[in-house]
């Protein structure tokens, strides 16, 4: 069976799963929006004086998008463990489909969900009064970046799921990686960070993804920022995809 068609069929299956149990997706939408509104409400009015950010709603928008994408992208790993435990993973592995398609189908579904959520967050943020400097084309770029980030990020949970088959481990893995989202200029510009945090943030690829996305919202087209963000997405993706492939190998060749 052709790998692309198979991946797509399995993406559709994963997607249908979400439609069948929409309640599972609600927290993924609620949590980033909640933090967005609360953070803007708490810090928005002093951001200008405290660290020179005029449009804090725009400043926080990509944070909400990344947080949402990370939450959504956690789903693939968990769902994969359920497939492994139910034996359905092996049923799929017994078809003539390339086994990578079984994994990519899940990850792709999450990436698409993350893009949909990003769209919803942008619309709500605009209604809330945020600006978006690069307009519709910039929004498209932001959504594309979200797609890449979610795809790459979901690889963490999927790799752990394939390696361990345990939902707890997949969940724990997520918790270990979640801080990456906050060891970045999430609440304030990197320039105001304590020296140690700035050093950590500069090593964190999420920082560059966030800055690239933020430039689209609050500054306008900034090729350098976008390029760095793109490289960061590819770097995370390269690592997680490698881990996923290794974990897949160890699972299907035991």
């Amino acid at each position: 069976m052709n790998g692309i068609t198979a991946t797509w069929l399995l993406t559709v299956r994963a997607f249908r799963e979400s439609l069948k149990q929409p309640a599972n997706e609600l927290p993924n939408a609620f949590i980033p929006l909640f933090f967005y509104v609360v953070t803007v409400g708490a810090i928005g009015s002093v951001a200008q004086n405290a660290f020179g950010v005029a449009d804090y709603k725009g400043f926080q928008l990509p944070v909400a998008v990344l947080q949402g994408a990370a939450g959504v992208a956690n789903g693939a790993g968990l769902a994969m463990t359920l497939d492994i435990q139910s034996g359905y993973f092996e049923k799929l592995a017994l078809t003539s489909t390339p086994r990578l398609a079984i994994v990519l189908g899940r990850m792709l579904a999450d990436a698409i969900k993350a893009v949909i959520l990003a769209g919803a967050i942008i619309v709500l943020a605009l209604l809330y009064g945020s600006e978006f400097k690069t307009g519709i084309p910039g929004m498209a770029v932001l959504m594309a970046a979200t797609f890449g980030f979610a795809l790459a990020y979901s690889g963490i949970g999927v790799a752990i799921a394939l390696k361990t088959g345990s939902p707890q481990a997949a969940q724990a893995g997520f918790i270990v990686f979640f801080p990456l989202l906050f060891l970045a200029p999430t609440f304030a510009p990197i320039e105001v960070f304590a020296a140690w945090l700035e050093a950590v943030a500069r090593l964190n690829p999420v920082t560059y993804i966030l800055l690239g996305m933020r430039s689209l919202v609050t500054e306008g087209w900034d090729a350098a920022a976008l390029a760095k963000g793109g490289v960061a997405v590819l770097a995370i993706g390269a690592v997680t995809l490698t881990l996923t492939l290794l974990a897949l190998r160890s699972r299907v060749r035991q």
């Binding site: 198979a6 069929l9 399995l10 299956r13 017994l94 078809t95 003539s96 489909t97």
Partner: protein, 328 residues
Amino acid sequence: MLAIEATGLTKHFGPTIRAVDGIDLRVEEGQIFGFLGQNGSGKTTTVRMLATLTRPTAGTARVAGVDVLANPAEVRRRVGVALQEVGLDELQTGRELLELQGRLFGQSAREARERAAHLLEVVGLADVADRPIRGYSGGTKRRLDLACALVHGPRVVFLDEPTTGLDPVSRDAVWRYIEELNRGQGVTVFLTTQYLEEADRLADTVAIMDQGKIVAQGPPGELKASIGTDSIMLTFEAEESAARAAAVLGQFEGVQRVLTSGQEVAVYLHDGASAVAAIVRLLDEAGAPAQTLVLKQPTLDDVFLQVTGHHLDVEDARPAAPSSGRNA
């Protein structure tokens, strides 16, 4: 051509567990091959190796003419597998699951739809096909799982304990279905089971597994014949006629032993079936006609006992075996 051929097939888990310990298999095309053994004897591990799910520690195997190590994807295209534990996604409906399975084997949307509808009909699931699998009963799930194994029309099918846990009616339905698959469509069936009567009824050839090794292999009839002795149990009107009959039967060709107990006589001999008519005639002539006559042939259980030293130990469906047979 051989449908399944394995040489020295071995699977060790860690340094101590020899789940499968160097087995040789030759299964002719079009056969039902019964793979018999008790819990932990290595049946599932063997199936998983032949079905490309588990990598052998050593040995080689060809299934449907293809090497399982060299070309696992092609093996998967040619074989159908229903594992011991059903593996279903409970959120999909039976129809969705079957159609997806078909498409993942490369069928077009239309082919997959038609094939799924046909199989749902065949396994008797047409009326629940559009409900989520979550709500299916255990037996229904098992039948769906079986249908999944057949979705791409495989020439070789592995069924790992397909009837364990089924009620007698469902078990019978599965048996008839396996027979139809084999006799009607010529599909080679590799069937693992803990039920002697299942192997006896369905299998052309039986292999008995014990602790990772094949300890006996052959057609059930031959295996039973290798045990040697049939017995004929006779009862008579009176002790006196029983004694007369015993004396006569002692002279009969092929009889190994005659035991008398009151009005009953037990005769042990080779090939009882072909001797029955002659014995009845002989007793009539001797003026000691038997009132009842029961011919008992060795069962696969006797074979099992002889080659393993213990009875086949199955928790359900039969009275407990002697304690020597228990291993856990």
